[in-house]
């Protein structure tokens, strides 16, 4: 502290002190766990490519983009399956996103506290319902109802969209509500003190501030919808045809990419062309999911400057 103490003795630099054994063991364990996860992912991806890539050469890209899926006659047109997945997913998103966001805003901003205390846990429980149970519900309740409305059959793209929307809703609501809750109280106070109305505050301040959280909520919801197989398989009618606009686009049976793999994997000979094509569908699904995740990252990243400003 004082000058009388003189020059402090230098720190020893010749030999590093031995590190505690415990630390070495823990660090090694964490390293192995982390690396092995990455290796497993790479292996899965390599396997998918090994089994799926040959299909792209044997069938050719034009063959895969053809309009007919009829594996018994070696017709592997993925177009009807792509259209089926697209219809069901887009339908689900169109239903679930507006409904989910408005419900979350209601829960987070408008509902009295006692109602929020009841609804929030109920919605979170809904997220835990096994998808196949929702499939039952679609089969037993929704499909007959839709047929009664005049569709040729109740097992349609629309039925699938409804079921998927219902599956995505709890995720979207719950995560959006968390994002709204995380918006600092000071933003609301500041906005209201500047003479903004309650609705202006929600629309102009709270929702933009929660944007990255809301995007994540929507993406997780969509992710659940695209990957879902069994419930969709039950209620979409499983016909690999391209629905025509003139006959009511959404009210015809379709088949999705995922349902095709699930339905046919059990009956193909390992190593056959059909087998390769099913893996190729897996690659297509992987690419789609990858694109959606990239889109989400890009949307959130576009808000980066503001996020660094200290929200969420």
């Amino acid at each position: 502290m004082t000058a009388q103490q003189g020059v402090p003795s230098p720190l020893p630099v010749d030999e590093a002190p031995p590190r505690p054994k415990r630390e070495i063991v823990i660090e090694a364990f964490i390293r192995v766990a982390g690396v092995s996860t990455i290796i497993i992912i790479i292996l899965i991806f390599a396997f998918l490519l090994k089994e799926g890539l040959p299909a792209f050469f044997k069938v050719s890209i034009t063959g895969l983009l053809a309009r007919r899926w009829y594996p018994i006659e070696d017709m592997f047109g993925l177009l009807p399956l792509l259209v089926g997945s697209l219809l069901v997913t887009v339908g689900a998103v169109v239903i679930a996103v507006p409904l989910g966001l408005t419900t979350a805003v209601f829960l987070g901003e408008l509902a009295p506290p006692w109602l929020r205390e009841i609804l929030k846990p109920v919605i979170e429980v809904l997220a835990g319902i096994p998808s196949i149970v929702l499939g039952f519900l679609g089969w037993v309740v929704l499909a007959p109802a839709i047929q009664n409305m005049g569709a040729p059959t109740g097992l349609t793209a629309f039925t699938g969209s409804l079921i998927l929307a219902y599956m995505a809703l709890p995720t979207i609501i719950s995560i959006t509500e968390d994002a709204l809750y995380a918006v600092p109280k000071e933003y609301r106070d500041g906005s209201l003190a500047l003479g903004a109305t309650h609705w202006q505050t929600i629309y102009k301040v709270v929702l933009p501030a929660a944007r990255s959280g809301i995007v994540i909520a929507i993406m997780l919801g969509i992710g659940r919808a695209i990957g879902e197989t069994m419930a969709v398989m039950l209620v979409t009618g499983n016909a690999a045809n391209i629905p025509s606009l003139s006959d009511g686009l959404y009210f015809q049976p379709v088949r999705t990419l995922t349902a095709t793999i699930a339905a046919e994997m059990g009956e193909v000979a390992s190593g056959s062309l059909h087998y390769n094509v099913l893996f190729a569908i897996g690659i297509v699904l992987f690419v789609i999911t990858f694109l959606i995740n990239s889109l989400a990252t890009w949307i959130i990243g576009g808000n980066g400057g503001r996020r660094r400003g200290g929200q969420i």
């Binding site: 106070d189 500041g190 500047l194 503001r306």
Partner: protein, 253 residues
């Protein structure tokens, strides 16, 4: 004392958890002066401020009794337009948090919410309010930068400026120099002298010293009650109440 803009009559305020934050508070706030509300923490200063522009409405389960007259009208009258009230009684909070967006967006937010879209009017108000809060020279070339890029003192003045942009009658300043360095503090204090020519200012100060520097008139609050109200000289030099004297001279608090 002849021309009071706000007349607080027998206000009591109880939070949802039963805490009595204000007990029978009566105050008359004169026009174009700096009125300081000071006292130890939990005295009810912030509660009283938030009551004046009815941000207290956000408190679930809170109740109040008594009246507040602003420009001759009872602000708790159920037909009163709360939004219009908040445009005329602006507030700057203790922690300066800009809204997400640029400096310009922060300054024009209140105006746009009020339906003012004319670019000339907006630009003019932005410049006037920034000059009034002594921020113009520092930010005039970077109005489109994020408001979060500003320093703490600049953010506080930005929050003041965005309230001024609405051209209110009264500005509530809730400890506007908390966390500011001495230089920023003195800039804010100096701007008050100019501001009170045009506005009525009600302020919770950072310290007793600051209170005595900026106040024209002051009220000493303790545990939700007004102990003493008076002019600057009375309160800080010749307090009539023992409790006020003890607090002002630093014997407690």
């Amino acid at each position: 004392m002849t021309d009071s803009i706000i007349n607080i009559q027998n206000i009591s305020f109880t939070y949802g958890d039963g805490t009595e934050a204000l007990k029978n508070v009566s105050l008359k706030i004169p026009r174009n002066e700096v009125f300081v509300l000071f006292g130890p923490s939990r005295a009810g200063k912030t509660t009283l401020m938030r009551l004046l522009n009815r941000l207290s409405d956000l408190q679930e389960g809170a109740t109040h009794a008594g009246d507040v007259e602003f420009a001759g009208q009872n602000i708790f009258n159920k037909n009163i337009d709360v939004i219009a009230l908040r445009r005329r009684i602006g507030m700057v909070f203790a922690v300066p948090i800009p809204l997400p967006g640029t400096i310009y967006e922060n300054l024009t937010f209140g105006l746009k919410m009020a339906g003012i879209k004319d670019a000339n009017t907006l630009n003019e108000r932005v410049e006037t309010s920034l000059r009034q809060s002594a921020l113009w020279d520092e930010v005039k070339d970077r109005l489109d930068d994020s408001a979060f890029a500003l320093s703490g003192g600049q953010k506080q003045r930005l929050c003041l400026a965005r309230s001024l942009a609405l051209e209110p009658d009264v500005i509530l300043l809730d400890n506007p120099t908390s966390g500011l360095d001495p230089i920023s503090t003195s800039i804010v204090e100096q701007s008050l002298t100019e501001l009170k020519k045009q506005y009525t200012i009600i302020m919770v100060p950072h310290s007793v010293q600051q209170a005595s520097r900026v106040a024209d008139r002051a009220a000493f609050l303790l545990d939700g009650e007004v102990i003493e109200v008076g002019g600057q000289a009375q309160i800080f030099l010749h307090p009539k109440e023992k409790k006020t004297e003890d607090y002002v001279t630093g014997r407690f608090g």
